[in-house]
Symmetry: C2
Subunit: 200 residues, 2 copies
């Protein structure tokens, strides 16, 4: 089986959420797995001078319209969260803590966290909320909440973010197929075609 593709995302990114509902199916069609890699967009914005979309005049309100319309097209439940954007530190640390123990379960957790934030309007930036989402998957909530404050877990996320920046990841979602980068949920069509054809 060919190398898995890398899927970088921020738990606070609506387009990351939308992509997360499609990427595994697209990859599977072409016999590929997907390695999910949460990162923190805030760290990237320090390099690119980027800003959260909703804060930009005109572009911000269009973006909300666009993401809502795209979700409707994909038939994916979506509601812009009351608190948006948020710092995705807690869910991202939770992801890597679980990932080191059970990679498949960490992906299920990521999907549940995305759903909690973008479909149920629950503020996953709060450790308590991330803990509750994890508990539903039979993860030990108390152990998870303790892990979020462990230096090794903090360092795990930090090094993932640094490695992503080092690799040139400047936004999210960001997908890498055998070294070829694709930025944005709007590039999923090209990702599909690249996997099918091996590039053009």
């Amino acid at each position: 089986m060919a190398n898995p593709i890398d899927f970088y995302f921020d738990f606070s990114s609506p387009y990351g959420y939308l992509a997360s509902t499609q990427i595994d199916e697209i990859a599977a069609r072409h016999g590929r797995g997907v390695t999910w890699r949460p990162i923190l967009l805030g760290a990237m914005f320090k390099v690119t001078g980027g800003q959260p979309l909703p804060t930009i005049p005109l572009k911000g309100s269009y973006a909300v319209h666009d993401m809502t319309r795209t979700a409707r097209m994909l038939k994916v439940p979506f509601k812009l969260p009351s608190k948006f954007p948020v710092a995705a530190t807690a869910p991202s640390r939770a992801f890597y803590w679980v990932n080191d123990r059970d990679p498949a379960l960490s992906k299920t957790l990521a999907q549940a966290l995305f759903h909690a934030y973008f479909a149920e309007d629950r503020d996953i930036s709060k450790p308590e909320v991330t803990g509750n989402v994890a508990a539903k998957l039979n993860l030990n909530k108390e152990a998870l909440l303790r892990a979020l404050e462990e230096p090794a877990v903090k360092e795990r996320l930090r090094s993932e973010v640094d490695a992503a920046i080092e690799r040139g990841v400047f936004g999210a979602p960001y997908i890498v197929i055998d070294g070829e980068p694709f930025w944005g949920a709007d590039r999923l069509g090209q990702v599909d075609k690249w996997l099918e054809t091996g590039g053009w």
Copy 2:
């Protein structure tokens, strides 16, 4: 026949160029015409605080990679111009001057100008170059060069840009179907689907 759709673009925008090679065919499939409307992105950036893509760290070099790859996929000739971006004042004024006389010819001129800049690396921001492109279409070059400096022609472009900003256009390409806005060449798939289904 249903209302034509509006296609806003900047002659200096690579994604505008890429969209310009697709939009009429997409619209025609659904029995629609397209009204081409050159605008000046610089005026929009004053509102949104946007910057030309190539000036942004990381994002800029990715963007060049992405536009080149997308052009290759579409089988459209493309080479990032030596001087890029440029102020598209001259070609835009030329467009509206011709448009007031012969709308069909103005679209042909726009296609020739885009091709000159993005396929032949000719600097269309120079009135002389825009004049040469027009002359190839049997337009009177001397009359065109004089028109570029006429107050009425300058005002025509200015009022088009102001009307676009008033309407909420903040980037390019920007397509409006019966009031529904779509920003970016990457939304052409949704434009196609919207025209087909009447919206979702």
